[in-house]
């Protein structure tokens, strides 16, 4: 789960990382009041889960409270990469002497949190990594010992020479690491970490992603989720215990298991079709999940046919068949449905489907090629 900049800022601030003054506003009036409180020139920053906000016109300077209100009224409601801006962050326009990059990721290979820092900050770190890899210092942290003081200093020395700034940055590294570990982050970035002409070290922008697995035990973090920034269908799916990702095609897919769901999408493509979604109903056998899955898929007007691909293991195929039966009784499904199911309680499932006039296929390739053909006919 990605946090908004203002949320990431709040976590860092609570951990003692120096961030500029400022706060978030949902209306031009709030933004104006903040601007007045802060005084001087401020920056108004769109809060959306998208990179390149600046280029998209989502980050602007405002010299007066009135101008802040004006700019906020433009940015609020703006679309950036398909996402509507609902909030802006208003912060003082900082004088910047230098910009550095500080990132901390959960690295799969080393199975550790890994710091990446670079004095070339404020820009895309992947670009720096590709073009000037010697400008990045990479440091894995052994979670048994945590970030050791000399490691924090080594990271800081890579960014600064002035010992006061080095110590300030090392302190920020320690606090960032603490935020990362205590909140189960998969990514925590300060970009840019700036120095002011007076020599202060400040986190000017921050990005934090929380491991979704962390949210169950951390309702305080789960509350930070901004569902207005997500596809409504994906929100509905998550609430129903489904994993759903909207795609551009027209073949709706209902599958049990993430790997099989991906392989099903791939097979749709293989047979010349285009999947409309990724949808994993998970391992449990709840007919309600199937009903909800069908509701979500049929709400997508581009879906021309629906494919079920169920390999019964923990999932009982008769539960899935019952779910289809219940759904069709509750609401009309106007596109054809192709069902493939095999495994646990397959015979019972086939009977249930036959009872409502449907046939069940047992071969994945047969089912996929059939659904692709149906879409072709409909077109």
């Amino acid at each position: 789960m990605n946090l908004h900049e203002y949320q990431a800022r709040a976590l860092l601030k609570a951990a003692g990382v120096p961030v500029p003054d400022g706060d978030v506003a949902s209306t031009p009036g709030e933004a104006e009041a903040l601007s007045r409180r802060i005084g001087g020139t401020v920056v108004v920053k769109a809060q959306v889960h998208a990179g390149g906000r600046g280029k998209a016109g989502g980050v602007k300077l405002a010299k007066t409270p009135a101008e802040t209100a004006d700019i906020a009224s433009h940015i609020l409601g703006m679309q950036i990469k398909g996402l509507t801006v609902h909030k802006v962050l208003v912060v003082p326009a900082a004088d910047i002497a230098t910009e550095a990059y500080v990132g901390l990721i959960l690295d799969r290979d080393s199975q550790r949190p890994v710091f990446m820092v670079s004095p070339a900050g404020g820009i895309d770190i992947e670009e720096v990594a590709a073009k000037t890899p010697d400008k990045i210092l990479r440091l894995p942290v052994d979670p048994r010992f945590g970030l050791l003081p000399h490691q924090a200093m080594a990271l800081a020395f890579f960014l600064y020479t002035d010992i006061k700034q080095v110590r300030a940055a090392a302190d920020i590294m320690q606090r960032l690491y603490k935020v990362f570990v205590e909140n189960g982050a998969s990514l925590a970035e300060i970009n840019p970490l700036v120095t002011t002409p007076a020599g202060q070290v400040l986190a000017l922008d921050a990005k934090i992603s929380i491991d979704d697995n962390e949210l169950d035990r951390r309702p305080d973090l789960a509350e930070l989720r901004d569902e207005t920034a997500e596809d409504p269908a994906e929100v509905a799916a998550r609430r129903a215990g489904l994993t759903f990702i909207k795609l551009d095609g027209n073949v709706g897919c209902v599958v049990n298991g993430a790997g099989l769901a991906m392989a099903t999408m791939d097979l749709v493509k293989y047979y010349g079709g285009e999947p409309a979604n990724f949808l994993d109903i998970g391992g449990s056998s709840n007919p309600d999940k199937v009903v909800n899955a069908l509701k979500i898929i049929t709400a997508d007007p581009s879906v021309r046919a629906i494919l079920f691909n169920i390999f019964g293991g923990i999932t009982r195929t008769d539960d899935v068949a019952n779910g289809i039966k219940t759904a069709l009784a509750q609401f009309p499904v106007k596109v054809p449905i192709v069902v493939r199911l095999t495994g646990t309680n397959e015979k019972e499932a086939v009977k249930i489907l036959q009872g409502i006039g449907m046939t069940a296929l047992s071969d994945m390739d047969e089912a996929v090629s059939k659904v692709v053909a149906l879409v072709g006919e409909a077109a």
């Binding site: 550790r112 979670p143 298991g257 099989l260």
Partner: protein, 290 residues
């Protein structure tokens, strides 16, 4: 012979009285797995299904029954603790089925597992099965048949799909291992490839990968350098969009890295026969086994 589990497996089921644990404990017992103990704190002294002794702690179960393998069905919040407990009790092979274990917890679990020289499979995995000998986890026993093909996969139901294709084509399996779809897992492709390469009862290997990370690329290099047995591979997620987590916590294309195309190319370069779809497994394997 077999890989990781087999006829010498003496299994303790952690979370045996829970919803998932009890269901699958029964399934494993029916399959013939030696389920020697269960653990649920506070239920020590009871018997599961009238036969299997339940203990308060894994250490007690090991002392009383000589369990050497543990399977974990406890909820996410307690799963990392359950792995620590099993390893600390001297269990050699720990298989964690639980999905949703916080990844930061796994960063602490893994050094502990390594220091103690234990093997962890998972978390968020379907477990392993050595057909005819032992089933540890949730892979349906009915779709497997004993034989000489080893299978390793990051996925659950996709594994079933492929195993099923093999069994229908009368190609039996030595051991099938689901290593799990999380970013940090205890046993990776290379561990399994090495085990299959060393297993005299395995003639060929099927490897089911997916998008995200670089495990498959490294596995391909390992195959190129160290595996003499034929390997057939698949990558799920050829049509997955970048930046989205495709169900599995680990199945995410970051930037331009971890794509299916990249992984399939690595497979090809290493001499691994690449399946375009699950149904390709039988013809490709048959060709390589001739």
């Amino acid at each position: 012979m077999s890989v990781f589990i087999g006829k010498d497996t003496r299994l303790v089921v952690q979370g045996i009285t829970g919803r998932d644990g009890s269901f699958h404990a029964k399934q494993m017992m029916e399959y013939g797995t030696k389920v020697v103990a269960g653990v649920t704190p506070g239920k020590g002294g009871q018997r599961f299904e009238g036969t299997v002794p339940v203990f308060d702690t894994v250490a007690q179960s090991v002392a009383a029954t000589g369990a050497n393998t543990a399977v974990i069905y406890v909820p996410p919040v307690g799963a990392a603790g359950a792995i620590f407990e099993a390893v600390d009790a001297g269990i050699a092979t720990v298989i964690c089925i639980t999905e949703g274990v916080p990844v930061i917890e796994m960063t602490r679990v893994m050094p502990f597992v390594r220091e103690r020289g234990a093997r962890l499979i998972g978390p968020n995995c379907p477990g392993a099965i050595t057909p005819g000998q032992a089933k540890v986890g949730i892979i349906p026993g009915s779709i497997c048949t004993p034989g000489r093909v080893g299978l390793v996969s990051r996925s659950g139901t996709l594994t079933y799909e492929v195993v099923n294709q093999l069994t229908r084509a009368k190609i039996g399996q030595s051991t099938c291992v689901g290593i799990g779809g999380d970013p940090i897992i205890g046993t990776n492709f290379i561990d399994c490839l090495r085990a299959f390469q060393d297993d005299p009862d395995t003639d060929a290997i099927v490897m089911m990968g997916e998008i995200g990370g670089t495990d498959e690329q490294k596995a391909a290099e390992f195959v190129r350098d160290h595996v003499t047995k034929p390997v057939v591979g698949f990558i799920a997620g050829q049509t997955a969009p970048p930046g989205r987590r495709m169900g599995h916590a680990g199945a995410i294309i970051s930037g331009s890295s971890g794509t299916a195309a990249e992984k399939m190319a690595a497979f090809e370069a290493a001499g691994i026969s690449v399946m375009k779809r699950p149904a390709d497994v039988v013809p490709l394997l048959s060709a390589r086994l001739k």
